[in-house]
Symmetry: D3
Subunit: 209 residues, 6 copies
């Protein structure tokens, strides 16, 4: 029976290609496309392409925001390529904050696994939605909208955040305004911030012009 079954198997799986689109592990050395990276040959794929260990330890929060974001996006975890999903770990030490930011390419779903986090987002209609989340609670942040997370516990808080894309992008407003060479004059004209404020934050964040 086995041999005859196999005949069918041979017909149906005549090409490696048949199984390739079960998944498309990124070939990070290949070109990118609007739909993601080209695929590693299925013949070379192992279970380790589907497992990521980089979120097992805490990110380094010894910085001024007392927080760390550790991504498992396609560039770090090639298995997510083409699957419409990725994940990251947030570590927020006491006093830690993830500054106002957006993900241009994905919706986000956060689950607190340690501590308490004050999290919120602002809609296109400028409505504000925020709440303090306890361990095990989940919150959504729709694609492209400004949001933030602040540690609300007296201990380090941890969360895992899933995204609806293997490459959600990340635009931190302060970095976009102050950490590059966009002329201060343009920043001021388009944000109504005072010149002194712009210059101060450009100084802190390493921006020029």
């Amino acid at each position: 029976m086995s041999r005859l079954f196999s005949l069918i198997l041979v017909i149906v799986f005549a090409s490696e290609a048949v199984s390739a689109l079960d998944f498309c592990v990124a070939d990070l050395k290949g070109p990118q496309t609007p739909a993601g990276y080209t695929c590693k040959s299925p013949a070379n794929v192992t279970v380790d392409d589907f497992v990521f260990s980089g979120l097992a330890k805490a990110g380094n929060t010894a910085n001024l925001i007392k927080a760390a974001v550790t991504p498992a996006f396609d560039a770090q975890f090639p298995g997510v390529n083409g699957l419409g999903l990725s994940i990251a770990r947030l570590d927020l030490a006491v006093g830690g904050v993830i500054p106002m930011h957006t993900h241009p390419g994905a919706n986000e779903l956060l689950v607190v696994t340690q501590g308490k986090i004050l999290a919120g987002f602002i809609s296109s209609a400028n409505s504000v939605y925020y709440k303090t989340l306890n361990k095990g609670e989940v919150m959504l942040f729709p694609q492209g909208l400004l949001h933030f997370q602040i540690n609300a516990a007296g201990v380090t808080s941890v969360a895992f955040v899933s995204f609806s894309s293997p490459n959600p992008g990340l635009q931190i407003t302060d970095f976009a305004f102050f950490a590059n060479d966009l002329p201060s004059k343009i920043v001021e004209t388009t944000t109504f911030l005072d010149d002194a404020q712009v210059k101060k934050l450009k100084g802190v964040l390493g921006g020029t012009n």
Copy 2:
């Protein structure tokens, strides 16, 4: 021949439904779905559902930003529902500016039809891309990224901006930070702006807390 042809016609177009998905003009009184509004019955659709005259005249720029955005999104122009496209008109008087903002739901393509516009966007990598555009020049602003437009002419400038969604959304950073009841303390913690700066702009834009 006509009668016999018509027999086929009757079979093929037996249901109004067949033609409905050529287009799906929004029934603005119906419920919305993740894919847009429910469709107006094709029997009630006329050419006027596909034509919008609201962009023919200039928006009112007699305001402090000396600029106006006139949208033809699904809520104003129900014909775009489900078609992955919409449009708006920008009027920028002398000194006019469209402040830093994002469209969470669409890419944007701007064409200048009068005057000159200095336009730019900032990528997730904090790179800045900006240029002064002359009449007839086109510029892209990818989805969810911060961007701005400033009149660069000594006269009123006008542009039409197309979007890759019937409802691109619009989040003006200043409005998101300062024009609602998000507590100043949270704004400051998540933006590193000074308290005085936050309070000043909350005052100007009508924010509270």
Copy 3:
């Protein structure tokens, strides 16, 4: 300034519809569509539509599989509607197992938050990918492929699983074969299982015929 700014605001946000597609919180009493539920009116949406507390406590594992799956899919957590994301919590007591199953509608990404889990999936090419995952490790399970999770620790293990759809579906193979009225004869013909085996499991799982 505030008043004049607001004029623009009024033009741009003339319709509630503009902000609606930032998100589309499910109206669970409305009809479903191929793209999900119809949307609750944005005017009635509060932060609680974006927060889910049901995963904060452990599922009840006092059953023979010594395991529990607690979903936060659209039917439980209406905020995920239309966002291409959902989440569930797995609790695996000592000896616990999530039996072979598929999610017809989504890719899955698991992160272990307590204990150790032996997890694996089988591809269309019948290749097997499995590994024992420690706390903080992440594993992918591509859409529609058979997979399983087994507690590999001497204590209760916990994981959060994210999905690339608000409604991933769940088909447990044993339930599909043995927990309904599909005639034993058909089950045997299409699975090559022995009659005694089919009858035994139909008995255990409440199937008939």
Copy 4:
């Protein structure tokens, strides 16, 4: 065991909604959306929603084109709603022809099940691809491109055509030009056809103006 398993079952399938998106059988009396019809309640769905018998008998080819198209699109076969697939049957009597047409909403895949068919399409680059297909042969017609089928056998030919949409649409060029009230003057200006030719075909196909 059955009872305890069922506990899980109850948790996981707590809502009818969970299974609903396995499929979304069209409620033809409900509204349409850009993604298709609203769904019939899963509780009322039976196997007959997934089976269509209307293609079992030949269409009536006693007409001047000696051909018939029998569709199983969403309006005829509500089970295809939301599934990205539909099907139709072509009957071509001796001398039969399906005139030049496009499907604005779907790619098409034809398989000949009786006789021989000369079929072809024209690309955007005006290249022509045509061939005579024998029984069992398959041909593709990309979305939106002009194509035709002509009986090439001395007997009736039959084919089944699948589409990549539950509602592919159908625009027969002759009907679009000549079977409505589009003024002859406009037809002539935009097609370069002679006035006599336009008037003749308007007459045959029942067009006016």
Copy 5:
């Protein structure tokens, strides 16, 4: 006139790229992407890229399941690449059966062209939908759900099955469980099948461990 028309033609079709996305015939030697294979140059495409003759003759049913599946997926029929469609031929000799399986990547639509077929599927809610189909009848099998086909005629039955993807995948449950090196212990723990049953089918299907 021709020459002047051609001037426009030259402008509009200045690049080969314009016509490329009418279709994207797979370059099977190129890399794959999450959206399919890279495209063969349109200049090298001929009608034979859009025609497939491999389904014209019956598959070999001289095996124990007395059935054959002959696919025209992207790997066999490169023209379907990127078109969201593919097709296969089923041959079921007397007593033939296509065992329980899923297509992780596509919905399926079957049309019987010879004989009678008993076909069915099982939903996420464990409901069973099955029926005996006569020649010309059509049945749907939603993506990722277990389904089967059994010859119900005293003669060979034939069907064509269309899929909503150029690469639907195929996971035969018995092959996934018993035709690889997944340890028997894991199979038993995750399926509740008896050790003897698992060992027996592993023996038949060539599995190890």
Copy 6:
């Protein structure tokens, strides 16, 4: 602070890949995929990839249709690759006409910026929708449907047309029927046009056979 912030920046933007999918400027020398061209390395992208100047001047209307279409599709404007948008400029001299055509791959949105244009389309149900548009008025043309534009002013008219795809395709009916080697006999059989009419237009447009 800057240095410590930068530590986070380094973690989050560890790979160039993270920012790549903000946009995917086409590498026109690379292969195409069903989702578009492969991406130019983000490191080599400049603002000029997002700006297109080719629509700033009028197309040459010194031809028999007295009209010109100047496209900014992906082949001309690589920045639109993957963004679901493109644009073109229409110039219609006095008496100018854009003949009946379809875009197989995109919806279209036209805005008149000079003069007056009589524009219309025909639905799958053969309904005609047409109107004379003034400067600043906008009209929609759904994907794949036949449409046309005719200058309705005593001066040159100009419009910008946006598309819901970086590569909408363009099939001009007359060119498809008469400007290639499709045999006259087939054209006549599938369009019901008279032999003299077909031969005449083949002559004008350079067709053969």
